[in-house]
Symmetry: C2
Subunit: 290 residues, 2 copies
């Protein structure tokens, strides 16, 4: 990963349109409004955009000029279509998105003829399990890694503009190849989400005795299972290959552990010690709160 520096000759960002004013889009809008950027808000549901505007995230008025940047904050499967639509209308000089999956939306955008020279894929490594504009926070991105996935054909002014957006939000830009990003988040985020969901789902039919004996251990282990089911279906489906690969490893490791339970305490101890070691890596090196 490379940290980007912005050319001194670039003009400062003045105007931005956010398309999709859920938790993530509204958080970006709030963060950039606080830096003096004029923010225009759009959502497929006008009431949601109005709710974001009421929170001080910007205006639902239609911009009278081409904006400096458009941030596409919609589920991964919709990014390509929204990008194509925005580019057809020429609403912005530069485009980015905040999807949790990068390769599949990019391939879709290429397939339908989007202009990839003024588009830079992005993914802020920040989030929360609550959704909608009322869950937004302008400080969501402070000191977080924000992955950018420019291509060889991406123009310098587009990279500069997106890098400035990231810095204005208080985050740290990191360049990665789309496939590398997808492979990494499959392990760091997507598989843990699915595992937490399956663990939480197993509680649905548990009797009162089981629930009475549940505590902070399983509650922490399943916190992320509260995430928006429709959005996560979209994310996981769009990164199916990478997620499936890691999930197969986890499933095999669980099967081995199940076998070791009664048959081989030494092997079981080995799994738990590896868990200790992996956990130590996470607490030593991970980011703070997403």
């Amino acid at each position: 990963m490379i940290c980007l520096t912005r050319g001194t000759d670039a003009e400062a960002m003045r105007t931005m349109t956010v398309i999709g004013t859920g938790m993530m889009g509204t958080s970006i809008a709030l963060a950039l409004r606080a830096k003096g950027v004029q923010v225009y808000l759009r959502d497929v549901d006008p009431a949601v955009a109005a709710s974001a505007a009421a929170l001080g995230a910007g205006t639902v008025e239609i911009p009278t000029e081409v904006v400096d940047i458009a941030v596409i904050a919609v589920p991964p499967s919709q990014i390509a279509d929204v990008l194509a639509d925005c580019q057809a209308k020429g609403i912005a000089r530069v485009y980015t998105d905040v999807g949790s999956v990068k390769a599949a939306p990019l391939a879709a955008a290429e397939a339908i003829g989007c202009d990839l020279t003024n588009y830079v894929g992005g993914h802020p490594m920040a989030g929360r399990e609550r959704s909608g504009p009322t869950a937004a926070s302008p400080s969501l991105f402070l000191d977080r890694v924000w992955v950018l996935t420019p291509l060889a054909c991406t123009k310098a002014h587009a990279i500069d503009a997106v890098t400035e957006l990231v810095r204005l939000a208080g985050a740290k830009p990191s360049v990665m190849a789309p496939a590398d990003h997808d492979r990494a988040v499959a392990r760091s985020s997507h598989v843990p989400h699915l595992v937490a969901s399956v663990l939480a789902a197993s509680m649905e039919n548990a009797d009162d005795t089981v629930l009475r004996l549940c505590g902070a251990g399983i509650r922490d282990a399943t916190r992320i299972a509260a995430g928006d089911a429709a959005l996560w279906t979209d994310i996981l489906s769009m990164n199916a290959t990478a997620v499936s690969k890691v999930l197969s490893e986890i499933a095999a490791d669980l099967s081995a552990a199940a076998h070791a339970l009664a048959a081989d305490p030494n092997e079981l101890a080995g799994v738990l010690r590896k868990g200790n070691a992996g956990r130590a890596l996470l607490t030593g090196q991970a980011n703070d709160s997403w």
Copy 2:
């Protein structure tokens, strides 16, 4: 589960011996010391008992009389042998333990001829991932459920004494059959621990890119994986049958989810919605911090 009330004719607890002064044993000692009980501390490692004594948990002196109650706070596989030894020496009028598994230690105790009339199995639903006396806290049990597993042959004075111990520690006694307890904690605690361990273990060989993209999501999901590997090997091995049954369900659910990833978004959405529902049950009804 039944809440126990103590007979008015019972005498108040005055003396207690704690055998095994790790985090759990020392926490009980500290809690009962604060209620004026004379506490004697024993550990297979005298330095650990001395460390607990230095924290104000009691004394390492040998009691000069039979104590009111002995609390056996050792790993589940050692409970029966320690109980037999203590009963052979007649160190206490009543015996209890704090093991996370109840049926197998009880069967072992019966098999080696322990007196089950003055012994009541126990399991405080409280804990932390750190171990040793320095991790102990007298407030660990406040308002927590403390499972007790008396048998038909258990004498009333033994149940009274253990119930008083639980109340003095600030916890809520709940009577369950040993097998019911083991089946419930397999789902509420043991399987989540193993799943968190396998998830954390998968980080051990992850590259820097993956670790850089890890955040609070996977950190919360793996917190309990930091637990003592030797103790948890013992716990899981002693509850192998119940844990294996639930683990097989989880593994099957993960396999189904893996299949649904690319093949059936509706099924995937169903898993995630069930996860939302199970998570809501946990946050609505679970206890606070173990």
